[in-house]
């Protein structure tokens, strides 16, 4: 059994990193949150633009994402910065404290000056960083790992090299008792029947088809027809013939294992094995959703070298072609372009990815971590009011 050393949290989960983060509950506080994080070495700002004037379903989604991020196993401590009377910072902090997380909330109010808030925040964060250094690591095995599967900046080779290699990895970790999460609902349109067929039950199959239908309906409601718009002219020049082919190339990241469960954006899987999360195709929002759902590491295939990272989870970049690896070695962790050069097959790269995932779980930094790429954004379904 493959093992790694991680940080055991009070709620039983295990982290592969030990971050101290500062989060804003609403967009107005993003600047202040960054400023505060800058005052304390090792404190990481996790900021976003949302949280005010949203429709109820978006408010729910935003709070679920904030809570999932703050209570993530890779996070040692979280400071929330909130504002005004109805701000959720204190409520969320209390809920997470009850589950054993080290969380604190500071709410900026009329009677508290910004400098007082900054001072209180700086002290709490400095303590939290000190405390995080004292946390001991313990051994865990691969059954406790959840790995998110993502693609962004795809090219003609994504569906030939990187995505099938990620699929080979996904099958291997699922075989070993671990969990993988496939996401990006719109990218499954055209190949939804394949995942529906692979579902463990009629119920899971129906849930999957429903999130695909819902996504398509929302796009149609604003005049976008995903089916007719794909493959794009660029895709066709690259060799992709039909929507089915494009979507098959995307869902290849999910390998061939049975689909155990369909979960909402930033929801937590209850099952182990192969899972699907309802997310947009936009990589930053999708990665943030899988992380908030508890994925400790995200695999990310790219043909164009998308630099997307995450403030709380290591993102492992898998380049689709040899040229990309040559031109952007500092952004790519695995070169699946070796398949095109004839030195490796898909399974070889899948196993190379698996070995690297275990090293990353053991603390090895990924390219996006070394580059300090810490993108974060939350998916919204409706407009801002």
């Amino acid at each position: 059994m493959k093992t790694f050393n991680g940080y055991r949290r009070k709620n039983g989960t295990i982290g592969v990193r030990n971050h101290v983060i500062v989060m804003n509950t609403t967009g107005e506080l993003a600047g202040l949150t960054k400023k505060l994080a800058n005052l304390v070495p090792e404190a990481v700002p996790v900021t976003h633009q949302t949280g005010q004037m949203q429709y109820p379903e978006d408010i729910q989604q935003i709070y679920r994402t904030l809570k999932g991020t703050a209570g993530h196993p890779n996070v040692s401590a979280t400071l929330f910065i909130g504002m005004g009377q109805n701000d959720p910072a204190e409520t969320i902090a209390e809920e997470l404290q009850k589950q054993g997380h080290h969380v604190h909330a500071i709410t900026v109010r009329k009677n508290k000056s910004i400098s007082l808030a900054l001072n209180e925040g700086r002290q709490w964060l400095a303590e939290a960083v000190k405390r995080s250094h004292l946390e001991k690591m313990e051994m865990a095995d691969v059954t406790e790992l959840t790995i998110g599967l993502e693609c962004g900046g795809s090219d003609a080779w994504s569906g030939v090299t990187a995505n099938p290699s990620i699929g080979a990895f996904s099958d291997a970790i699922v075989d070993d008792g671990g969990t993988s999460i496939l996401a990006e609902t719109p990218e499954a349109i055209g190949a939804e029947h394949i995942l529906a067929k692979r579902s463990v039950s009629e119920e899971v199959s129906e849930q999957f088809l429903k999130i695909v239908d819902d996504y398509e309906s929302r796009a149609l409601a604003i005049g976008e027809d995903v089916r007719s718009a794909n493959p794009s002219p660029g895709n066709i020049t690259g060799g992709l013939t039909t929507l089915e082919e494009k979507s098959l190339g995307c869902i290849k990241k999910g390998g061939t294992a049975p689909l155990q469960e369909v979960i909402p954006y930033s929801g937590k899987p209850e099952k182990k094995g192969f899972i699907f999360m309802d997310t947009p195709g936009y990589d930053v929002e999708s990665v943030a959703g899988m992380a908030a759902g508890g994925a400790q590491i995200v695999l990310f295939s790219t043909g164009k070298g998308s630099p997307t990272g995450s403030p709380i989870v290591p993102v492992v970049k898998i380049g689709t072609n040899p040229k990309l690896y040559k031109n952007m070695p500092e952004h790519i962790d695995v070169d699946s372009g070796k398949i095109l050069e004839g030195t490796h097959n898909i399974n070889d790269i899948g196993m190379e990815i698996y070995d690297l995932v275990m090293e990353v779980a053991n603390g090895k930094l990924t390219a996006s971590e070394k580059n300090n790429h810490q993108e974060f954004a939350i998916w919204r379904l409706a407009e801002t009011m």
Partner: protein
Amino acid sequence: MSEQSFNSLKMHAEDNVVIALRNLRAGEALSVQGDSADVQVQQNISYGHKVATDFIPEGQSVVKYGEWLGIATEDIAIGHHVHTHNVRGLNEQERYAARSGEERSKI
């Protein structure tokens, strides 16, 4: 690094197309990774594009990754380019059949 010994890739054993790994010239022999197909390329084919390794009659499915990516709109001979000029996507009825797991041959 070993020398590349093939010029195309088959994604699944049941596929009737392979992917060109470099620009292929008409008349060239196809060498497929992990496969002993004896196919001569009949047309110039760009890298990333598909070549038929079986005869695909009009109305039959084109198979990649072991799944149907579309339906041939004309007979496609072995060694020919497989793309938008001779393949269309699935229609609603075909997609429904695929969803419910019916066999390819029934379409």
